[in-house]
């Protein structure tokens, strides 16, 4: 079956394309790209006025299956991804039990395939049970399809374990993703340490707790030659450390989340538990420079669904985390692109070749022969964030009721439409 995407504006940073192109899709792959392709007998999808991008990749989500299916399942998570304009997501291993072995990696992949929505790529645990003590069977999981390794949610505390993980990962040329947090400095911190935490009487969560681990990881990466990826970076100082490391040619990459890019720690002043996440909201301003100058490799949502009952408690007792798959693209279009903080092509890069490059995958491009994973945006579609429309099982978003301009309207994987709200 052939499909022709006609009259859309293609923005493909990898190929340097920004202009009107028609795209012919055949057997799930891109068969032709040209300024104008005759429809012939092909099914035509008219995308006039819309923007065609390579399929967006979210390299940091939590789908809670197995173990916490009341929050999210692979199927509902993958549907939320499709609805949010993502064609692929990488799932963190902090499931119950922890995804630290081949059978769980295979299970999550199988659940993803069955869902038939966005592609689901598992991230295996670095250590058994994510307990930071003993390396998990990284090679076995890699063979089963794990795209990266991380103890996300649990920082790798021991420098020795981190060193071994970085050394060992070199066999497979895959990144070790670290959630950078010095647990002793954070202790029972709940919000960023600053005037807001001081005023509200919360134990503060200092930025330096992240910086110390980012610094350690960079040094270990440079010493071992392993690839370290900094998850959800949240401070200016960490960004500076990564920037300097990159300028030395180190194998260090990093991601930031949409919520850290648009919300400051003041957002917690109403004690809304939907503003409670790890790392905490700090100063959005601090991250924007790194976004623009190339320090940041990817925007990732850290989609962390929690049931509303779990969030409907005292602020300090609520679990950390917010959902993000279904708001990320609108937030970035409205707050970053339409406000001229970064151009559209840079945003697309941060959602496509950026994360693909971190994971070492040949994805995120619109080129002949590539899998037809496509994200179509309506840059001017007005949207009011409404949890009722979420495909996710959870609604813990700090952006509920926000009015935003710009929205993904069509998501395709292998040329198949997995979400359509044109």
């Amino acid at each position: 079956m052939k499909r022709l995407l006609k009259n859309g504006r293609v923005v493909d940073p990898a190929g340097g394309t920004d202009g009107q192109r028609d795209i012919l899709i055949e057997d799930g792959r891109i068969a032709a790209i040209d300024e104008s392709i005759e429809p012939g007998r092909n099914e035509v999808i008219d995308l006039a006025g819309l923007t065609i991008c390579p399929g967006f990749i979210d390299m940091h989500v939590h789908f809670r299956e197995p173990g916490q299916e009341w929050k999210e399942t692979v199927a509902t998570g993958a549907a939320a991804a499709a609805s949010g304009g993502f064609t692929a997501v990488a799932c963190m291993p902090n499931t119950v039990p922890v995804m630290d072995n081949r059978s769980l990696v295979e299970f999550v992949r199988a659940q993803g395939r069955e869902a038939g929505m966005a592609r689901v790529w598992p991230i295996g645990a670095v250590t058994k049970g994510q307990n930071g003590e003993e390396l998990a069977e990284i090679g076995d999981m890699f063979e089963a399809g794990a795209v990266a390794f991380s103890d996300d949610g649990r920082p790798i505390r021991s420098s020795q374990i981190m060193r071994m993980a970085l050394e060992y990962s070199k066999i497979f040329d895959i990144p070790v993703i670290d959630h950078c947090e010095d647990r002793e400095l954070v202790a029972d911190g709940v919000v960023h340490e600053g005037w807001v935490s001081s005023r509200l009487g919360f134990k503060g969560w200092p930025g330096v707790a992240e910086d110390i681990m980012v610094g350690r990881n960079i040094l270990l990466s440079e010493y071992t030659g392993g690839h370290v990826h900094i998850a959800h970076m949240s401070t200016a100082r960490s960004a500076q450390l990564v920037r300097e490391a990159k300028s030395r040619g180190s194998r260090v990459t990093c991601e930031v989340t949409p919520h850290h890019l648009v919300l400051d720690h003041e957002a917690v002043m109403g004690f809304d538990t939907y503003t409670k996440m790890n790392p905490p909201l700090r100063a959005a301003e601090d991250l924007l420079e790194g976004l623009a100058d190339g320090t940041v490799d990817a925007i990732a949502t850290d989609h962390a669904p929690h049931h509303c009952d779990e969030k409907c408690v005292e602020f300090s007792r609520a679990p950390f985390g917010v959902v993000g798959l279904e708001t990320a693209v609108s937030i970035c279009l409205d707050r970053l692109v339409h406000r001229d903080i970064i151009p559209l092509s840079r945003m697309v890069e941060l959602f496509t070749t950026g994360p693909a490059g971190v994971l070492g995958l040949d994805k995120g491009k619109i080129e002949v022969g590539a899998e037809a994973d496509i994200t179509v945006l309506d840059l001017d579609r007005e949207v009011t964030v409404d949890a009722g429309e979420f495909e996710s099982k959870s609604e813990n978003s700090p952006f509920l009721k926000w009015d935003l301009r710009g929205r993904p309207v069509l998501t395709m994987v292998d040329g198949r439409i997995i979400h359509d709200r044109r």
Binding site: W195, S198, R199, F271, D309, E314, F315
Partner: protein
Amino acid sequence: MKLSSRHLLGIDGMTAEEVALILDTAEGFVQISAREIKKVPTLRGKTVVNFFVEPSTRTRSSFELAEKRLSADALNFSASTSSFSKGESLLDTAKNLEAMSPDFIIIRHSEPGSPHFLARHVDATIVNAGDGAHEHPTQALLDAFTIRKHKGRLEGLRVAIVGDINHSRVVRSNVLLLTLMGAHVVVCGPPTLLPREFDAMGCSMTYKVDEALEGADVVMALRVQHERMNAGYFPTTREYARQFGVNGTRLKLAKDDAIVMHPGPMNRGVEISGDLADGARSVILEQVANGVAVRMAVLYLLAGEPARETTS
């Protein structure tokens, strides 16, 4: 003149006029506690639940007395005697309380923002009786009332607050209230117990007690909680007392007519010397007495609030 909120969640968000209204109203309640019959029928038929998730004897007693002197029906509901300790959520516990149709819920809780949380989810008027290290608005109001009684004003006064600033809800409400009313507040404590950027609240900060006490009209010592004593914030209790304890010698730096306050309970010989606590300048027991009047004033003013709205 009335209060703009139907809850008292904190000093944060109040206007100077509202604070003055509460303090003025409290004047009228002081005398009731001095009478033979210490009771007025004002809140007859109203039900007040004292929901104390964190133990507190003095604040609860003060509220309870205020409620009883206003003829309200007071119900004490403490964590240890409730299903709350069996793992029931705050929301479910509150909903259960609400099913008994209380007009007020007075809440003390170890977590900041808990009263705000309740205000969003239940219909009753919520009064914050202390939420973690966040706020303790009725304590700040009774402190201000006591200061005003002695100094005749709040504006232009220099108030020194010395002690564990970090874990104190009293200091936060006091700084907000006193600066709102035009006083200058200087907070003082070991750097390990001074929260970062605390001066963003409008006070000044110092690590030097002598600097804090210099020229002060009011000196307030804060309790060092036992669990902090061995938590590494300072080397020993002895050293704390020497560095930060308020005593007669240090008090000489303050104004001659400076008053000495303490929200209680005191550790004599640690944050305050015994002779000061019992001395002529001490108003510590007046604070306790005024607490009842101020809480009566708060309940009186909030009970008069108009029709229930769902927004907080």
